[in-house]
């Protein structure tokens, strides 16, 4: 009995070690003209992997603003759009990716949308013309959105050479090659805009 437990423990530790050794990490910053770029989306292209989270993602509506303004999710993720503002909103997306129109719905209520196809979804409110958000729907979990310091971190990437795409709503986009080793992190700082 003791031997069996010991064997199981050893196997588990070995698997854990292997698991660690085959997952790399990409991190760095995105800048434009020497300044950090927030809300840039970075994602690995051409790879289908992972499963969407069971928990829905929330895009809030407060003060006539979508929060967050930029987000990335996996295909198959459900997004909740609660109206936590003081006025009605009419959330819709007609242009690319998922198309939907949630109609008018009252303060304190929530509508949900399942994003079942990849692509960039531009979301608006048909009452408030300055409300907009960008939602990238991606085929794998290897993505990140930069923070206020322009920093990003993508974890648990299998080793290999990948096409890494960087996108920003105003600064455009570019694609670079990223080589992820079997162990450790790769620091990849990127610039957008004039190069």
């Amino acid at each position: 009995m003791k031997v069996r437990v010991l064997l199981s423990l050893t196997t588990a530790l070995a698997l854990l070690a292997v698991g660690r050794s085959v997952a790399g990490e990409l991190s760095g910053t995105v800048t434009a003209r020497g300044r950090p770029v927030r809300e840039a989306v970075l994602f690995v292209e051409g790879v289908r992997a992972g499963t969407p989270p069971l928990q829905p993602v929330v895009v809030d509506q407060r003060k006539r603003t979508f929060i967050p303004h930029v987000a990335a999710i996996m295909v198959g993720t459900t997004v909740l759009f609660p109206n936590n503002d003081t006025v009605f909103h009419n959330v819709f997306s007609y242009r690319e990716g998922k198309r939907f129109d949630l109609g008018l719905y009252p303060v304190g209520t929530t509508r949900r949308v399942l994003f079942d196809r990849p692509g960039l979804v531009k979301i608006y409110c048909n009452i408030h013309s300055n409300m907009s958000m960008f939602l990238w729907v991606l085929e794998n979990p290897y993505f990140a959105v930069t923070d206020a310091r322009g920093a990003y971190r993508i974890v648990s990437i299998p080793p290999g050479s990948y096409s890494l795409r960087v996108w920003h709503e105003r600064l455009g986009e570019r694609t670079v090659t990223a080589r992820v080793p079997a162990t450790g992190a790769v620091v990849l700082d990127l610039t957008l805009g004039a190069r």
Binding site: K63, N90, F100, G108, T109, Y124, N126, I127, S129, S132
Partner: protein, 310 residues
């Protein structure tokens, strides 16, 4: 006086914005320019320029001010403290009467250049965007929201109005599927628009009304209907709006309104229009208004609305 209040509101917003720590200010500024062609003349005007500031003073407490210049004169449409706890919301100050469809954005940003007749509050004279001083409480679960406003001072902007709480507005709202409906009541006294108001000239007002919004993808049908008595005379009126936002034309919304008010005389108006959003924060609306030639709005109205958020 008004100018001073506008400046004070702007100063309050700026001072909160500059304060360090927990106070956060959001705001928007908009410019509404209009051209109208009708009755043999074409006019061009800057209808209004306004700024709205929403200052978060504490996690549950906000100060909201909405002021600007309309028709060449300073106005403060709203200025209130707003406290929220759970489902409840308490406002103290000056705000739009919480009855019917009363949000500025739903009335002005959906493609109609003009407010419906009943939004001019015909029971108290044609006063555009009438707001009142007082207190308003809203609460309840989303399935059955209530909103009660106790207001006074008849829009004079001279005092808070709580010393003369002569008007009460009540609204219940619920929804079922695609339909959102509201039941409204309004009771108080009000001054006739002419001759100039005097304390003895106040009239009793009792009104009840319904409002509704029914929305499907691409389509919204909404409206209000009011009836009651103002100074012993009966009043009935309302409007129905049809909004069509076609999927193949995502930047366009086409609108149709029919409306009628019966109060002393019958006013009827039809509006056909289109709204275009060429870029974030820009709205262009074109309305063709059909009504009695004696009234002001007949003809074609063109509106450019620019809103910026900060």
């Amino acid at each position: 006086m008004i100018r001073h209040l506008v400046l004070l509101s702007a100063f309050l917003g700026i001072s909160f914005a500059s304060a360090a720590g927990a106070v956060v200010v959001h705001g928007e500024a908009s410019l509404d320019a209009r051209a109208r062609s009708g009755q043999g003349a074409t006019t061009l005007e800057i209808f209004e320029a306004r700024a709205a500031l929403q200052s978060t003073l504490a996690p549950r407490l906000e100060l909201y001010t909405d002021a600007g210049v309309r028709d060449g004169r300073g106005v403060i449409d709203e200025a209130y403290a707003d406290w929220r706890g759970g489902d409840a919301r308490l406002r103290l100050g000056r705000f739009f009467l919480p009855i019917g469809i009363h949000s500025r954005s739903e009335l002005y940003y959906t493609g109609f250049v003009r407010l419906p007749f009943v939004k001019y509050y015909p029971f108290n004279g044609f006063v555009l965007f009438r707001s009142e001083q007082g207190a308003a409480v809203a609460g309840g679960p989303p399935r059955l929201r209530y909103e009660v406003g106790v207001v006074g001072d008849d829009g004079s902007q001279a005092a808070l109005g709580l010393d003369r709480p002569e008007e009460i507005a009540l609204r219940l709202q619920s929804f079922d599927g695609h339909l959102i409906w509201g039941a409204n009541g309004y009771a108080g006294t009000t001054r006739p628009p002419s001759p100039p108001p005097t304390p003895s000239g106040r009239r009793a007002v009792r009104l009840v009304g319904l409002d509704w919004r029914y929305s499907l993808p691409e389509w919204i049908v909404r409206g209000e209907w009011w009836m009651g008595r103002v100074g012993g005379r009966s009043l009935a009126g309302g409007y129905v709006d049809l909004l069509y936002h076609p999927e193949p034309l995502p930047a366009w919304t086409f609108v149709l309104r029919v409306e009628q008010v019966d109060f002393r005389r019958t006013l009827r108006r039809g509006t056909l229009g289109a709204k275009h959003v060429p870029a974030r924060g820009w709205t262009i609306a074109l309305n063709w208004v059909l009504e009695d030639p004696r009234y002001d709005a007949r003809g074609v109205s063109f509106q450019v609305l620019r809103t910026v958020q900060f």
